[in-house]
Structures are given as structure tokens and as C-alpha cells.
Subunit: 323 residues, 2 copies
Amino acid sequence: MRPGIETIRACGGLHRFIGWDRALLTDSGGFQVWSLGELRKISEEGTEFRSHVDGSLRFLSPEVSMEVQAALGSDIVMVFDECAPGKAPHDEARRSMELTARWARRSRDRFDELQRVEADTGRTLVEGLSGAQALFGIVQGATHLDLRRESLERNLEIGFDGYAIGGLSVGEEKSVMWDVVAEIAPLVPADRPRYLMGVGTPEDLLEGVVRGVDMFDCVLPTRNGRNGQAFTSRGKLNIKNTQWGSDLRPLDETCCCSVCRRHSRAYLRHLYLSGEMLSRISLTHHNLAFFLDTMRRVRQSIRSGKFTQFRREFTEMFNSGVE
Amino acid sequence: MRPGIETIRACGGLHRFIGWDRALLTDSGGFQVWSLGELRKISEEGTEFRSHVDGSLRFLSPEVSMEVQAALGSDIVMVFDECAPGKAPHDEARRSMELTARWARRSRDRFDELQRVEADTGRTLVEGLSGAQALFGIVQGATHLDLRRESLERNLEIGFDGYAIGGLSVGEEKSVMWDVVAEIAPLVPADRPRYLMGVGTPEDLLEGVVRGVDMFDCVLPTRNGRNGQAFTSRGKLNIKNTQWGSDLRPLDETCCCSVCRRHSRAYLRHLYLSGEMLSRISLTHHNLAFFLDTMRRVRQSIRSGKFTQFRREFTEMFNSGVE
């Protein structure tokens, strides 16, 4: 919607537009349109919705989504799916899963055509990447394990570069989410990335990893950072709390990020209460550093065969509370 | 007012509180209280005003201001002055200038006492600085040259580490401001810094330098940056303009700052219109880089005896307009 796909194309694709020469993953718009609620109308062909910017009528389909993502030139393209409500009954979840499966086929076909004509826009060649766009399928089926298995089978039949588990973290119980992940992740071939969409907290990352998940995405580190919440090795820290008023320690005494090397809780609290954006920038920066560092430690512990020990120690520390 | 001087003291002074190990200059609060208008009451003793935070009654005087600035531990402390309105008639400006002169004496005395007992809080020792706080006097007298000269004489009698010209850039004609600067700056001993307070645009900096000014301060690069205005070698650029919609060039094609090395006008415009703080951060960063670079070039041109040529070329370019 903003600035519009023609602008991005004119600017040579998303990498060049935002000045980022590393990997980019773009979502298909399926979940985003779904989250509009009453503003959208779904048919076999695709989804009609009203722009939140100017109220105009817009249309997204598997084909349109693939065309948009080719114009963006992202490294990982997601298929256009439909997301059923977290508590959808079996029949509704089946209808939705089957529609998603047909849309996955159409996404694959249009994606392949676009790749053949090299339609992706000015994608930066990144060392260690193939130079072509990758397409990921999305497993749906709400909380129903039989539908989830069937959805994965249909995705595997079509064949994708990676497989995502979608439609979770949308209001269902957490235990139900982990049941779905535990059921599906191990069924994805080991040489393909497994991606759990929209998850989660630092502890969720470990819960996902232990069930075989490789990739995550979430607004948590940035949105919570903007709202004054820092994630630390000893749990969450609310920068607004009075107790940090004269506390010269960094957000996290074990963190090496540029914010923790330079600024105290007292200063970040003062900036936050004064409405200075530097506080929100700093908390966001720290949170991203903390999440990235956590995943770095996860990979390291797996390589050295000590993931179980790392998970226990991390969780114990994370629940010990910030002092 | 926020976070309060006791907090700063408890945190080891301003350098440590904000994580900045280079020079800091703090204003005395004289101008800030003056700008409150009806909310303040001035007497021989000092100024009473209402806190904009909680409405409580507060008091500032030369002595209190020196104590606060000692607690802050800034490298350059400004005397507590009274600022007359830009268009104050002669008698009002004289009364104000004489009060400022008496306050300058009291500021000097209290400052010296505080220095003797080493009251300044945990000031970082910065290479090339003396390790003691410096105190600057402020020349007042509105637009009346005789009062300005008398104000400077009184300041010189007391003796300061540097001399500021205050009470300008507060609504008077620019030509009047430059007349005052041209009159006063050359009368300041050459071995003392001359500081023009609250000025100004890039062109103002050159106008000040040509009249003998060494130091400036202004909100322009940061405030205008937050509001979408970039300063460039070819003049001002409004990032909101439609013409930058697909413009892949940096804000300033001759600028080496990290924003200009990475981001295009098109992207910064998109971020600005989307309400993303990254745009305001980036424009602020660029503007500060531009102002600092301009002063760097000023010093270089003075050292090589080519300031007049630099000033002509800079001004010509600055007025050529951004394309």
C-alpha cells in the first residue's frame, strides 16, 4: 500500500530501497488481509479488501502475491494462504486448509513462471545465497492434527524450499500450539528449513527449537522495546519502574550490545519518561541483540551437543527475575 | 526538573549519566526561565518560576545555578543572566544589563567557591581539557551598542574563561544582530573563546565566523531534522516533497555521513510519511554531520588562509537549490 509496489520496482527492489544487502523474507499478505477481519471478502479466486490507507478496494490472490514479492525481490517468498481462526471447528478448518492447498499450487506455478522470466527486481546477490528467490509453503489446519498432517502432505507434494507452520499464536492455548508443532515439525524433511510463523518470546524460541524448528519471526523484540520493555538474561525489565531511577547498571549485565556497553537503566528510564525517542530506539536495539544472541547460543549449544543443558540453564536464569 | 539534580549527582554527574566522555556545555537556566514569560518573577535575588512539570514553585539564582552546574559536572558552565526582550528600549535594557552584571559577579564568586571545594560531580577527564570546570560570561544589552560594550567591559573586569554574546536571535532583525556581533566579538581578547548563543543556520555560522565568533549552539539541525528538513550543501531539502518519491540519491551527494552512504531520499521520504522514527533519526544524524562538517571546513579554510574563498563558494552552492 505504501509506498506502493511501482515505487519499490522503480527503486530497484526492496534490498536497494531500504539499503539492506542481507537476506529478506516477505510474507504473502494472506495473514495480513485475514487480520483485517470484516474489511475483507474471501473467494476461490483470492481476497478482496479495503485499503486502510485510502479505503480503495484492493485484490490479492496467489498470483498477485507472487508478482508483488517478485517485484520486491525478497530472498524468501511465502505462498499466499488463508489463515483459519485459532479455534475454528473441524469443518471450517478443513475448508480453509483445502483452499490454502489450492492456493499453494497456484502460488508455486506463478512463482515458477516469474522465476523463469527473471521477474524478481534487482535482488542483491548475497554471499552464501543462491541468487534466486526461494519459495516456502505454509502448513495450516488450525488445531486439528489430522488436518495439519494433510496440509503438510499437500505442501510436500507440491514441493517447496522450506516449510512454515502458520495459523498459530493467534489466540489458541499455548499447549495446543506446541502439540501442533511437535506433530508437524519432525515430519518436514531434515534438509528443509522449518519456520514457525509469529513466534515468540525467548522461552518460546527454545520450546520451538526443541521440537525441531529452525526459523521464527515476531514483533516482540521491537514492539515491546518501543513500549519500554527490555528482554534480559534474567527476564523482562520494565524501564518505567521507579526502582531504576538511579541505577547505573546496564539493562543486562551479561549483554555486550552497544546500548548495554554505554547506557544505564537510570538514563534509559529518564529518556523514556521524557518522551525521547532515543529510549525506544535503544530498547529495541538491545532486544534485537538479545534475541539474536540467544539464537546464536542455541546454535552453538546444538553444535557442541549441549542444547538440553543450555535450555535448562537459560530458562532458570530467565525466570530468576531482574534485580 | 527531570530527572532532578539529586538523580544526576547520584549517578556521578552528567557525563556518566548520559554516557558521553567528551566536552559538555550547560546553560545557566537564565534564558530558559526568561522564555517561560508570565510564569516567572524576577527580583534582585534571582528568579522564581513555576515548574512546567508539576506546577510547583522553584527558584533560580546565580548561586543555585552554579550549584546545579557543579552537580552536573559540565566542562563549560554559563553564568546566570537575565535576557532582555530583543526590542527592549534603552532604559529597560540598561536595567537588565546591570542586573546581569551583578549576577555575573555572584556567579563568579559562587563558582570559585565550588571549584575550591571540588564540588563538581565526577567529571570525566577528557584529553586536552584542564580537568576543571570553565566559566563563561554572557554579554547582554539588547540591540544597544553602548550597553553591549559596557556589558562586555563589566564581564572583562570580572574575568571569565570565555565570553558569550547572549540575548540575540530572539526576534530582532538579523542585520541588527550582526551589528552587535561585529561590535562586540573583536573586543573579546583573542585568547578567549567567543560564543554566539542560539545561532544558527549554516549561513549564520559563516556570518558569525567572519565577525570573529568561535562557538555556536542551536536546535536547528535536530529540531528541523525531526520535522523532515535536511540541510545539504545545496540548501534545504524537505523530505516530504513528492519529487523524492523514487529518487535513489542520498540527501546530499557530497556528504559522507552514514545516512548518506546508505539511504536514499525515496526511502527516507517513505519512512517519514509512514511515521517511522528511523526517518527523523536519520535526518537528525545527517544534519548534525552536515553542521559539524561545515565547521570543520571553516577551520581548515582559516588554517590555509582561504576562508573568504570558502565562504563565497559555500554560500553560492548553498543557494543553488537542491535538484
